[in-house]
C-alpha cells in the first residue's frame, strides 16, 4: 500500500464518529497534511553527546556469555512465546537488559548477584546450573521467588525476591516496548490520525455516554482544515 492510501485507511479505520474523507477541499487539504507527517526510522533525535554515550555503552560488555545465556532462559520463562507472538528472547530482551545494566549501573549488583544465586540454588538442589536444569526444575526454583506481598516495600523482601522482581520488570518492559510486544498489546497509536471520540461500543461496554451539550462544543473534524475566524465575542464562525 502506498503511503497516501495507508494514511487514508488509517483515517477511516480509527475515526469512530462517522467522519468520512470526502473529496471536498479543506478536508482533503487536511488529509494531505496527515500524509506529509514523517518519521525517519533510522534516527531518534539524539544529540552528539547522547550518540557518543550510546556508542560507548555498546562497545562495552557487562554480562559474560554464561550470564547472558541464563538471562535468555530466565526471561523466556517469564515471558514465553505463545502461538501468536514470540517470547522475550525474540523481542531482544537479553540485549536490552545488557544495555540497561550499563546505562543504570546501580542495577548491576542485584542482577549479577541474583544470577549467581540462581546457579547456587540449582546446583544445591539439582546438581546443575540453572540454565541447564530441566524446565520443571527451573520452575520449581522460580515458584519460591516469583510471588511477593505488594504491601511490603520491595527492598524489605529477601534478595532473591528483589532480584526476580527486577528481572520480571525488565523482561516485561523490554518485551512490551519491542515491536512484537506492542503488537501483542494491541496499542494502536503513534501515528497520524483524527481523534473523534470514544467508539460507541466501548461507551456501552463501560456504561458511559457523551453529553449532547458537551459534544456540541467539541471540534467538528470535517472543518479542521478551515482557518479559524471569530466574532468579537469569541464565538467561532468557521
Amino acid at each position: 500500500m502506498d503511503r497516501r492510501k495507508s494514511i487514508k485507511s488509517i483515517l477511516l479505520g480509527t475515526v469512530a464518529g462517522g467522519l468520512v474523507v470526502h473529496g471536498c477541499k479543506p478536508e482533503a487539504a487536511s488529509t494531505e497534511e496527515l500524509a506529509k507527517v514523517k518519521s525517519d526510522s533510522n534516527l531518534f533525535g539524539r544529540t552528539a553527546e547522547e550518540k557518543e554515550l550510546i556508542e560507548k555503552l555498546n562497545s562495552e560488555q557487562f554480562f559474560n556469555e554464561h550470564e547472558l545465556g541464563t538471562i535468555a532462559v530466565l526471561s523466556n520463562l517469564i515471558m514465553p512465546p505463545n502461538d501468536k507472538f514470540g517470547g522475550a528472547t525474540d523481542a531482544g530482551v537479553q540485549e536490552f537488559i545488557e544495555f540497561m545494566a550499563k546505562d543504570v549501573p546501580k542495577l548491576q549488583t542485584n542482577l549479577r548477584g541474583g544470577l549467581m544465586w540462581l546457579d547456587h540454588k540449582s546446583n544445591t538442589e539439582f546438581g546443575t546450573e540453572f540454565k541447564s536444569a530441566a524446565e520443571e526444575q527451573q520452575k520449581q526454583i522460580l515458584d519460591s521467588i516469583a510471588f511477593y506481598d505488594p504491601e511490603i516495600p520491595i527492598d524489605e523482601h529477601p534478595l532473591e525476591i528483589q532480584f526476580f522482581s527486577l528481572m520480571r520488570n525488565l523482561t516485561l518492559t523490554g518485551y512490551y516496548t519491542s515491536k512484537i510486544g506492542i503488537e501483542d498489546l494491541g496499542y494502536k497509536g503513534n501515528m497520524p490520525n483524527v481523534w473523534d471520540g470514544v467508539p460507541e461500543d466501548v461507551l456501552e461496554q463501560h456504561g458511559l455516554a457523551y453529553d449532547e451539550e458537551w459534544l456540541a462544543k467539541c471540534v467538528d473534524q470535517s472543518k479542521r482544515g478551515i482557518i479559524a475566524e471569530w466574532d468579537d465575542e469569541g464565538n467561532l464562525l468557521t
Partner: protein
C-alpha cells in the same frame, strides 16, 4: 584575553528564546527593528529529522525511552534538566528548590504541557481579597486585549464558560473527552466538582497557512514537526525571521551580564560562546531579558558596576526575592471499571482533554489560594517502565501478585488503561524570604557566579496540598476506584512537591509602582535603568492557580509594544 565587540548596533538585544523572548522577538521584528536574539543552547527545529523525537517507537532506542539523559524520558524534547553538567546551582541549608532549565531555541516551550490559562481579575488583585501578598499594578482589563491577541496568533483550544475568574477567550474547539475522562466527569459530578474542556495550545483547527493541524499523536512533549503545538521557536522565532524583520540569532551563547556606560544606562550584553569559550559583546539601544525568571535575576545580580554596585536594577534589593513556584501534589487510582478495555487509538492531544478549574471559596478553608486539577490516564504507548509490577492490582481481588509465564500477558492486558491520576496545581503566596541570590563561593564552567536558592513552603501550601489529597481520594472513590499508595502524612508535607518541581517559578523581578518595593514598572521596564526590560515570568507579582505561559506571552507582547513606542518617541 580581549573581549570581542560586534560592530552592529542593534535596536534591541533579547536574551532568551522561550515564551517571553520569542514573543518579544516577534513583536520587535514585526515593527521593523534590528534585533539580536541570544540563546544559551543550540538551534532547534522540531521539523529537523536529526533532532526529531516525535513518532519514534521505544524500540528505536536501546534504552527504550528510559530517562538516563533526559529527565522526562529520552524522547522528551527539552535539552537540559534538573541538573546540567558544568552549570550548577546551590541551595541554602535547610531549604529546597529544584531548578529545571532547558537550553535550546524555544527553551522550555518545546516540551511543556501547553496548558494555557488566562489569569482572572482576582488573580491580579488577590491582596484585596485576603490581605496576603501584593496586588499587581495592572489588572485584568490591561492584559485582556493581549490575551485576545495571543489566542488568535498562537491558537488555544477551550470553551467559553462565563466563569468569573477563568475568563473566556478566542478558543479553537476542544477535542472530545477520552474514556477515562468521561469516567472522571461522572465521578466529579457526584461531589459537585466542575469539569470543563481543557485549555491548551494545540491546533485542533487551522489557524494560518504556516502551521499544520494536530494529528493526535499525544506527543506534544516531543515538540510538533508540523508546528501544531505552541513552541516558541516554531511559532514565534521562525515567523519573526520571515516577517521581514532583521533578526540575528546567536545560539550557544551564554550571557554573563548586561553592560552599562558611565551614566548607568545599558549598552548591550556580554556573552560567552560555547563553541570557542571566548567572551563577546553585543551593543544595543535596548536590552530585553527573557532568560527565565531565575536566569534573568542572575544576570542582573551579576551585572555589577560603579553605577549599580548592588547589581543592575537592584537599588530596591528586591531582585531574586518573591520567588514562587506553583504548588503540586499528585495521586493515582486503579479504576476497575476501566479494566479489560478494547484497545483503540486514544492518543488524542498531548495531555488532558478536560480539567477542573478552582471551584471553592477560600474563606471556608484553612488555606488562602486555590488550585486546579489536571488528569491523566488511558492506553498510552509503552515506554521504559511499562509492565513494571504488572499485577499488583491482583491484591484488590485476593489473587497472588508476581508470578511468571503466560498469565502475565493476560494481567498486562487486563489492567492496560485502568489507572488514572490527578495532579493539583495551586497558587503559593509570594514571600520576600523565598529568594535566589548569587552564591559567592561557586561559579559555573564559564566563570559566571551561580544562584543559591532559599525556599521553604509555609502551612498555606501544605494545607492546600492536604486538601488536594482528600479531593483526589474522594474523586477516585466516586469512580469506584482504589486509591494507590498511602495518604501522604504531615511529615511528607501531604505530598507537596519540592519548590521548583512544577517548573512555574516566577516573581524574581516583580513589577510595581513603587521603585523601593519592586524591580520593574508596569511595562516591565527596570525602575533604575530605562532601557532594560524583562519579559519572562520574573515580573509576576503572583501567579494565580494558573500556569504562567499564557500570561508571559500576553505581558511580553504588551511590554514589547511599549518598547516600540518608546523607541519611536526616542525616549530610550
Amino acid at each position: 584575553m580581549q573581549i570581542k565587540e560586534s560592530p552592529t548596533m542593534y535596536d534591541a538585544i533579547i536574551v532568551g528564546s522561550g515564551a517571553g523572548g520569542g514573543m518579544s522577538a516577534k513583536v520587535l521584528a514585526d515593527a521593523g527593528l534590528k534585533i539580536a536574539v541570544v540563546e544559551a543552547g543550540p538551534f532547534f527545529d522540531p521539523a529537523d529529522p536529526e533532532q526529531m523525537t516525535q513518532l519514534k517507537w521505544p524500540y528505536q532506542s536501546p534504552r527504550r525511552g528510559a530517562n538516563t539523559t533526559r529527565d522526562f524520558g529520552e524522547f522528551d524534547m527539552a535539552y537540559g534538566g534538573w541538573e546540567i553538567e558544568g552549570e550548577p546551582y546551590t541551595r541554602a541549608e535547610g531549604t529546597e528548590f529544584d531548578w529545571y532549565r532547558s537550553h535550546m531555541l524555544g527553551g522550555r516551550t518545546n516540551h511543556w504541557g501547553r496548558i494555557s490559562l488566562r489569569f482572572g481579575p482576582n488573580d491580579f488583585k488577590h491582596k484585596d481579597i485576603d490581605g496576603l501578598g501584593e496586588n499587581w499594578p495592572i489588572g485584568y482589563e490591561d492584559v485582556k486585549p493581549y490575551y485576545d491577541k495571543v489566542d488568535k496568533l498562537i491558537g488555544v483550544f477551550g470553551t467559553n464558560e462565563g466563569l468569573p475568574n477563568d475568563p473566556d477567550g478566542f478558543f479553537l474547539p476542544p477535542p472530545k473527552p477520552r474514556l477515562h475522562e468521561l469516567m472522571y466527569i461522572k465521578g466529579a459530578r457526584k461531589s459537585n466538582i466542575p469539569v470543563i474542556p481543557s485549555r491548551m495550545s494545540m491546533l485542533t483547527k487551522k489557524i494560518n497557512n504556516d502551521r499544520g493541524v494536530c494529528f493526535y499523536c499525544g506527543q506534544c512533549s516531543r515538540s510538533c514537526q508540523v508546528y501544531a503545538d505552541f513552541s516558541a521557536g516554531s511559532c514565534l522565532i521562525f515567523p519573526a525571521q520571515k516577517s521581514g524583520g532583521q533578526v540575528d540569532l546567536y545560539v550557544n551563547s551564554v550571557v554573563r551580564e548586561v553592560t552599562t556606560n558611565d551614566e548607568g544606562k545599558a549598552t548591550g550584553v556580554s556573552y560567552i560562546s560555547k563553541d570557542d569559550r571566548k567572551e563577546y559583546q553585543l551593543r544595543g539601544k535596548v536590552v530585553v531579558l527573557a532568560a527565565s525568571a531565575c536566569s534573568s535575576a542572575r544576570i542582573l545580580l551579576n551585572s555589577k558596576s560603579k553605577q549599580h554596585p548592588n547589581g543592575l536594577g537592584n537599588s530596591s534589593n528586591v531582585v531574586g526575592k518573591y520567588l514562587h513556584d506553583s504548588t503540586g501534589s499528585s495521586r493515582a487510582g486503579f479504576i476497575p471499571g476501566l479494566m479489560n478495555r478494547k484497545v483503540y487509538n486514544e492518543d488524542g492531544v498531548g495531555g488532558m482533554h478536560v480539567y477542573t478549574p478552582w471551584w471553592l471559596d477560600n474563606k471556608d478553608l484553612d488555606f488562602p489560594r486555590g488550585y486546579h486539577i489536571e488528569v491523566w490516564g488511558g492506553m498510552g504507548m509503552p515506554n521504559y517502565g511499562f509492565g513494571f509490577n504488572p499485577n499488583d492490582f491482583n491484591k484488590f481481588f485476593g489473587l497472588p501478585t508476581g508470578g511468571y509465564g503466560e498469565s502475565l500477558r493476560n494481567d498486562v492486558k487486563k489492567y492496560y488503561g485502568s489507572v488514572l491520576g490527578f495532579g493539583g496545581r495551586g497558587e503559593a503566596v509570594a514571600r520576600e524570604d523565598n529568594y535566589c541570590e548569587i552564591d559567592p563561593t561557586t561559579v559555573d564552567q564559564f566563570g559566571i557566579p551561580v544562584l543559591r536558592f532559599n525556599y521553604k513552603w509555609s502551612d498555606f501550601e501544605r494545607n492546600q496540598a492536604r486538601h488536594m489529597q482528600s479531593t483526589f481520594e474522594e474523586l477516585i472513590h466516586n469512580m469506584g476506584g482504589e486509591v494507590l499508595g498511602e495518604t501522604p502524612s504531615k511529615e511528607d508535607d501531604y505530598g507537596l512537591l519540592a519548590p521548583g518541581r512544577i517548573i512555574h517559578e516566577v516573581g524574581t523581578t516583580r513589577m510595581g509602582d513603587d521603585p523601593k518595593k519592586s524591580v520593574v514598572n508596569k511595562f516591565q521596564q527596570l525602575h533604575d535603568v530605562n532601557n532594560v526590560f524583562i519579559t519572562d515570568a520574573g515580573p509576576f507579582v503572583s501567579q494565580g492557580d494558573k500556569n504562567c505561559t499564557w500570561t508571559i506571552l500576553a505581558l511580553s507582547w504588551r511590554a514589547s509594544d511599549y518598547i516600540v513606542e518608546q523607541l519611536k518617541q526616542q525616549n530610550i
